[in-house]
Amino acid sequence: MDSQPDIPAVYHGRPRRPLVRKTLLVLLVLWAFGAVRGAWETPLIASLRGADLLQAVPARETETKLGRNSVLAILGGMRPLMAVYAKLSAVDKWEIADWDEVEKWYGITILLQPEDYQHRIDLAWHCAYNARAYYETSQHVPSGVDRAREMEVWTDKGLAYLDAAIPEFPDRGELLQEKAQILERKKHDPCAAAETYRLALGKKGVLGYVERFVGYQLAQCPGKEQEAYTYLKRLYDEAEKNHLPTLIHEVKRLERKLQIPLLLRIPDPEPDQPGTRNTVPGLKVP
């Protein structure tokens, strides 16, 4: 059909273009809605963040961080999936003992799920235990001095990751517990370990045995024997469930060391009760 020259008078000038007009109107309404809803949205977001139901946006630091945070926000619910991928990649690198790569992939995992403190514990564990153990026996580093230095470097890295994470999760005790274990087992610093275990007490995720660990580490700390004895004896007297082999062993050792009068000493353990040292597992299933 051709354009008609004798068009109705109503179409003098331009014909109606309702789509363009209506689209503009819709945009205007959307904008007006946006202006109104802000009064509801902003306090709602603030209250959700206050109730720990929304991740707060990290403080402004650099332009890079803005880009990074935007990516995180856009990824939204995809983050758990991507975090699993990153973590599996880290595990893959762990199998070939590529510790720098393990560190990198854990960094990505933590970036994707900064709210999951367990990733921080895992990273610290890899550094302080696995990487350290690798350098202890590695044939790739022939020098014993170099191996010892690497072992200390990776142990310190593990502690540094935990130190960075602990202020971010002030109510979680697991991070402090992990740090205390590294101090105890790898740094052989029972005094620091005891204090760190003590800091963990009463926090979320900390089980009853940590209370005993404070005493066990105090018992190993030079100059803290009396404090350790008082602490462990209190636990012993408190409940029969605490009459565990390690606790009895430590109390008896301290009784001898501090020359506690015989009448005040605790009874000897039953002959069939093993007097083992603390062997509480870290619950890691390799």
Binding site: S3, P8, R17
Partner: protein, 310 residues
């Protein structure tokens, strides 16, 4: 039941279009196109009206304006006195689009149930209506077959059935026999005639003139958006200054006498010969004869349809 007897005389027209105009603005320019230009026509209740015209003449746009799928730029359309923008008017309309594609995953019965429910039908009355319609369009054997396995003719017939589901008083058909074989085409034509007998108004858009001629009471010829001719079919097709005489068993002598008389009176003999049937009629007669032979030989004839899709 005839159309005239079933419709009360006071009934408003099935369709009343006045000065119907549709202008489309052209994309990316300030131009426009007048698709329908001041078209006025009336379809009386119980009448079969054919709107004919070549492709792109404005038939489909007119039909969409009647259905309320488009709003006119100027003018009005009413269906049984109700504006087509009124949802109630659509209770009175059944529509079969050209080459209809319904939800292929539904069976014939489910399709009718879907459209019936949209029209407010429920329960037993809907079930009964589905049965009636499947019988009407001769698809009872395919009621539980998915439409993906229907032939074009079957789709057209189920389309007609859905158009009729709420017992509309007006049926709008857009090229109802497009792409349908002659047998299917004849069946649809018979259905239209049956609707007419039941007093249902039919508004038919087609470019198949022979088909329109067979079923329509009145026709309108649309071209370049304008309604060029409109009126009762007999009046439009009659040639005022010609007369046709059809004889049977006439001897050559009688024909010679008639020819001489014509010459003597000064009239012109334009043609003389044996009347011809149409090709469609010839084809259908042969098919019918073949079917009759097969029946007499005890061979069952099945509905021609493509194999169902995997």
């Amino acid at each position: 039941m005839s159309g005239s007897s079933s419709t009360p005389p006071s009934s408003p027209p099935a369709i009343e279009a006045r000065e119907l105009t549709k202008v489309f603005p052209l994309q990316w320019s300030k131009g426009y196109m007048v698709a329908v230009d001041k078209v006025s026509f009336t379809v009386n209740a119980g009448e079969v009206y054919g709107l004919i015209g070549p492709n792109g003449s404005g038939k489909s746009t007119t039909m969409k304006l009647v259905l309320g799928l488009m709003a006119p730029s100027l003018g009005t359309t009413k269906v049984f006195g109700l504006s087509t923008s009124d949802v109630r008017a659509r209770s009175e309309i059944g529509f079969l689009p050209e080459n209809p594609y319904f939800y292929k995953h539904l069976t014939g019965a489910e399709t009718l149930r879907f459209y019936g429910k949209l029209c407010g039908l429920r329960g037993r009355s809907l079930q009964e209506r589905i049965g009636e319609l499947l019988e009407l369009v001769d698809l009872e054997h395919a009621r539980d077959r998915r439409l993906a396995g229907y032939s074009k003719g079957m789709l057209q017939r189920i389309g007609l059935a859905q158009a009729l589901v709420q017992r509309p008083r007006l049926v709008v058909l857009d090229e109802p026999t497009a792409g349908v074989d002659p047998i299917g085409s004849r069946e649809i034509r018979d259905l239209i005639l049956r609707l007419k007998q039941e007093g249902i108004s039919v508004f038919l858009c087609s470019h198949l003139l022979e088909q329109v001629q067979e079923v329509c009471d009145r026709v309108g010829i649309i071209f370049q958006g304008k309604l060029r001719r409109e009126g009762p079919l007999d009046e439009l097709t009659a040639i005022e200054n010609q007369t046709e005489i059809l004889l049977q068993e006439a001897s050559p002598a009688l024909i010679s006498k008639i020819q001489a008389l014509i010459q003597a009176e000064g009239a012109d003999l334009l043609s003389l010969g044996r009347p011809r049937t149409t090709l469609e009629r010839l084809f259908l007669d042969e098919v019918e004869r073949g079917l009759a032979d097969a029946r007499s030989a005890g061979v069952h004839s099945a509905e021609p349809s493509p194999p169902p899709r995997p």
